[in-house]
Amino acid sequence: MNEISEIKAMDLVERARRVAKIAASHADDVDARGRFPEEAIAAMKAERLLGVQVPADLGGEGATTAEIAEICSILGQSCAAAAMTFSMHQIKVSSVVSHGADAPWHQAFLKRIAGEQLLLGSATTEAGIGGNMRNSICAIEVDGDTCRLEKDATVISYGEEADAILVTSRSHADAAPSDQVMTVFLKGQYTLEKTHDWDTLGMRGTCSDGFLFKGEAPAEQILPKPFAEIAAQSMLANAHILWSAVWFGIAADAVNRAQSFVKAAARRTPGTTPPGALRLAEVSGLLQLVKSNVMTALGQFEAARDDETKLSSMAFAVAINNVKISSSELILTIINHCMMICGIMGYKNGTPFSLGRHLRDAHSAQLMISNDRILANSSTMLLVQRQDTSLLR
């Protein structure tokens, strides 16, 4: 990393920390009431974090995936719902940056994201597709310069708060279910009729309600590349890495709380090792595994970034799938260990060592794109793909 990018990264970290402070002070209320983390999102806009990934020549800061992952982790340590909202927004921005920057409409849109700090939402799931976002039932209808789309979207995270929604569909009325495109619809170009309430165990503040989406927009807002390529070359890697960064943040905060608990006990009884100390050592190793995992994936993604063949290769897909599976499973083990360390003080709400929210939020990790679906996908590829056994990149 050269000196200038180091300064920029430091600056991003400082800005993210200021947002995290605000997010942390509202996190319990966001969770208890299942409401949108509006204070945290307003702070992100004020710190101009929503546009950091937009290239500098379009008014953003050209932040790298590693820098965005660091912001996700910092936010994840304060309010998981705010962090997940930020990560989902950045995943959508990455699709436009990677696959739309050559198209005039999408270039102008990227300028608006940075200039006006627009929050992007996503509608990739649909009733009847069995959770496989690489299939669509709905089809976009292109009529001259206009496109129309109606989608029974079972989940649109922060749908009502988003300034634009990126929606997948079949590319035309006769297209196969996997022949998909993604279209940007701006607020005002669509209506949302709520069909499902988001009342969940955790991640309550993402407000991922279900909606009947009806949109009409200029046809040039359809992303110029097939969604299959967007998914394979940027979306899945960004999603699994940035989600893992959020999850790492949740687990890191749990370990911080457990460490504070053990330290407090050690200070009370100098000369004796507190009972939770051994478990703390163990959990610090597990947390390091999640960190290594995310950092390795960031390195692999960086190395493959400009090589479409590498990005679409099975080796890369299996590696990125593995990152998602292991981080989502490990954080549950980690938070559970922390609960054992903090005991009843961790189990109770409203103590400095409370871990209930962390544990509930963390349970979403295995389900957002079900681990079983990802394992099935990897298991197919491993019928032909050989294991990468090299320790060199």
Binding site: A176, A228, T309, A315, T380
Partner: protein, 84 residues
Amino acid sequence: MNATIRELLAEHGSLPVSVETLANDADLYEAGLSSFASVQVMLALEEHFDIEFPDTMLNRKSFATIAAITACVATLCGDQEAAQ
């Protein structure tokens, strides 16, 4: 070789359309080839031609069209003419 590949694609590709209707350069993913089915076709090709796809060929591009598959198989079989 092209005819054999078309046969194996018809048998293992689970395509919603008939393989005969597809030109050599038609996009198979647009025609409905899933990633699961593409692996099944790969396995059938490996078995039939007694070849093994190297990691460099395990990407979307290698399986995007019948022509691309033919080129990969031909390279692996050492058939320079068909690989062109």
